[in-house]
Symmetry: C2
């Protein structure tokens, strides 16, 4: 989930100088329009310490008219608040119609910290997140606009940031011992945060994940998203004369769009596509890994651990070739490959997940999907086979589906086989030449290629929304087929090993 | 919550003979129309054993064309299903477009039983209910119509039913030892069921609670509701040419309407309004109870237990008089009475619950609300000040609000002061005569009186939706003021005593 917020995106000084002033002007104008609106705006900043939460709030106070703003940060409850239900202090502090309230961590802070420090169980944590959902739903149902930013820093970036602050005598006071203690628990934080974001990104109050390392980038990202969300909400709440209700339906679907100051940069553009493997090394490692897979899959079978492997990727990226390198490592009586085509008439008269549920393996067995349920948010999205409402809600549905698999002791591996557009072009050309491969190349492949950018954006969002602590995406640099196959096999073996280790502890 | 399903509602043979045949005919016609619809119907029966779940499913198989039906009951998982995620078998069994699937208990069965037999904690139970919500939401988002009936029997009615079955040699096999074991745990069942119903009555798959004691009543109730829901869903999914999306918004609001075969019978019509208390007894008990309240409220203060008391009721039902009898039992420094009027301009620019949150007492203190947040589902509903969407979703919001109070160690007492329409008429007349009471009678009171039936329906639904295991309604027979005041005081004392007892154990 945070993979897409560790892309090292930066905005140059010049770029910022050009983009910031008009953004500021538009935000101010929108704030003026907001004054007469019959709803308040709640802007919540969560995320990693040092990722610029307070700095951004301060900056927005400079940019906007402070008379229409309130800002709230919450420490240990005072006696007055400790004696009342948890949400009392937040209800009390809500901004009135026409105003903007900035909330620092607020209702997310305690639930996440308590989980990280094991003061609550997973189930109790989920219950608290549920209460948050109810609280936010009550507000958004009433017309309140809630915009939530999750400011993210990678593990190393956070460390660097703390050290910077400590070195400067003017800011060293900001880094407390507790901050380093939290940093030690970075992975636990990530897991709890992912769970919180996944569970509370429903409906009308989705999270916007913001890469926090570069100040200029994060400022533009937050300001642009905020502007867009407020503008849209004003339009919907006060339509010039159209159908307010019909407009409201649309919102739910598109409200999680974030403004991206560096549109060219996606999670795919950051992959090192030159990675490769020499023939001899490949042969050796292939044999070793197939042997390892064989052993591990037998152990998994004995332990009743199932495996579900899903392949997605560009046309001609080598999905089939990778699958053929997995098969020899598996007992063919216990595994199956399911190629996913366009739905049949029968499949079409059920929910789109139904046909994947059908093929869920028995305990200890393996199912490999050649293309998968992710078609919903890839081809169906890009080609318009699914409505925006349908593919957007699919993220949560898919996360639920995979969570159920995982909690039923299933190893879930998801591979995006990535090649560059140039490499694909060469592979297509080669296929045209080879009689025994020519059939694989269809008109559709060429059409898909024309929509490369749309697919890349869809992949980026897919990874952001569905690479969760329970089931991560593995992005495979597949310009070199040998490198790709080894990475796939290794990932599967590691996944099985990890699950088996849980078994013995 | 089940109070409204223990009203002993019956349909006579004659009445049934008149109403059943046309209902059957219409259901059959609707089933024919459904065949071409782009969605399936899931009808789920939950509830108490012996309340007619299977009988109703059998009957509907007779009434409808069985070729368009499937029915599923679930026992212990077979090996095939036990090896897969919990929901696998339900996904597999979903009906296709145009068909109706009857599900017996299904996904609700294990979560409730596991909670009753303490195999899961409250938090784990909520997590399972959450998964159910996600599952149902994925289906309804996809257009599936889900109709859920909760068949209810009171404790004694269930016992009677089991004994009847046991006496008849043809049916005695149906009552198993396990059934009696479950009956012993009737109260635990009620609590778990209420929790399940409250949590899963959100959005588009609300529960219809059906009084199951009388076969003819429950048959008409289920058949009528089912007919109404399917008809409406067909209209929305296949509008003759209107705005499908706009129609969808409406549904969410009205989809929990149940068909009521005995419209005159409400929870208020079943109260014994002749209850009264002689003057001497009243004086004695009043003194005793005020003393008891004094003692208990001091203990509660020491223990940090707060109290929130809400009064609702007909105009002139004696709310003020009852409150004045509570005050002497309380320390005036620690308690306050909040009269609730129409919202001020300031209050109006916040969420409707905001002004009640403001007055939540500190630990150990008492707040009495003279009228309350229930205005949303009473006066605001009947007078049209709140939209249907607003007051319908208020049930869940209010349940959440009160649950937060209760889990923060607050005793919540909710009183509906009930008088008959005749009694109100006499009281109004008397007020007109008395100069010092004349001011209390306004034009509005007379207008409200004209809407008596609408208010009575609103009260009935309010009790059904918000009398939960965490915060029950107390309906006060208030034609006799003395009886009413004593019942109020007694209820508050009992509530405090119960909460204090938890403290010491």
């Amino acid at each position: 989930m945070f993979d897409t917020a560790e892309l090292d995106r930066k905005v140059s000084k010049e770029d910022y100088a050009e983009k910031a002033p008009p953004l500021r002007q538009q935000l101010l104008e929108t704030q003026t329009a907001l004054r007469k609106a019959p709803f308040p705006v709640i802007v919540l900043f969560g995320g990693v310490d040092g990722a610029g939460k307070s700095e951004t709030i301060n900056l927005l106070h400079e940019w906007l008219d402070p008379r229409g703003l309130i800002a709230r940060a919450y420490g240990t409850p005072t006696e007055e608040t400790a004696q009342r239900p948890t949400f009392w202090r937040y209800w009390r502090d809500l901004p009135a119609f026409g105003r903007i309230g900035f909330f620092l961590s607020a209702w997310y802070s305690d639930p996440i910290l308590n989980r990280v420090y094991n003061k609550t169980s997973d189930a109790e944590f989920d219950e608290e997140l549920d209460q948050i959902l109810n609280f936010e739903k009550a507000l958004t149902d009433d017309g309140v606009l809630i915009v939530k930013f999750w400011m993210h820093l990678g593990r190393d970036a956070q460390k660097e940031r703390f050290q910077q602050l400590e070195e400067d005598p003017l800011t060293s006071w900001r880094v407390k011992e507790k901050d380093w203690e939290n940093w030690e628990k970075f992975d636990d934080f990530t897991e709890a945060s992912e769970r919180a974001i996944t569970k509370t990104s429903r409906g009308q109050s989705p999270w916007h994940i913001v890469e926090g390392a570069d100040e200029r980038y994060r400022t533009l990202s937050v300001a642009g998203t905020l502007l867009e969300r407020i503008r849209r909400h004003i339009q919907q709440a006060m339509p010039s004369g159209g159908e307010a209700k019909a407009a409201k339906v649309e919102t739910e679907a598109i409200s999680d769009l974030s403004y991206n100051p560096t549109p060219g940069v996606t999670i795919l553009s950051q992959l090192d596509m030159t990675l490769s493997l020499a023939k001899a090394e490949y042969a050796e490692r292939l044999e070793e890994l197939q042997g390892r897979l064989n052993l591990l899959s037998r152990q998994a079978q004995d332990a009743g651990i199932s495996t579900v492997i899903a392949f997605e990727g560009w046309d001609a990226a080598g999905k089939g070739g990778a699958i053929r390198r997995i098969i020899p490592g598996l007992d063919s009586r216990l595994s199956q490959v399911i190629p996913i085509m366009a739905p049949t008439a029968e499949e079409f008269s059920y929910h789109y997940l139904w046909r994947f549920w059908r093929h869920i393996p028995l305990a200890g067995r393996v199912t490999i999907f050649d293309r998968s349920w992710y078609g919903r948010v890839l081809v169906e999205r890009v080609e318009g086979f699914a409505t925006e409402d349908e593919w957007r809600r699919a993220y949560a549905e898919i996360n639920d589906f995979e969570a159920q698999l995982v909690s039923n002791r299933t190893v879930v591996c998801k591979f995006w086989m990535n090649i560059t557009k140039e490499e694909q072009g060469q592979r297509f050309e080669r296929r045209k030449q080879l009689p025994h491969k020519k059939w694989k190349l269809t008109e559709e492949d060429w059409r898909n290629r024309e929509k490369w950018d749309a697919y890349e954006a869809a992949v980026n969002e897919m990874v952001e929304r569905t690479s969760t602590y329970r089931a991560r995406w593995t992005l495979v640099e597949a310009n070199d087929k040998r490198y790709a196959r080894i990475k796939v096999l290794e990932t599967i073996c590691d996944g099985l090993e990890k699950e088996l280790a849980k078994e013995t502890t």
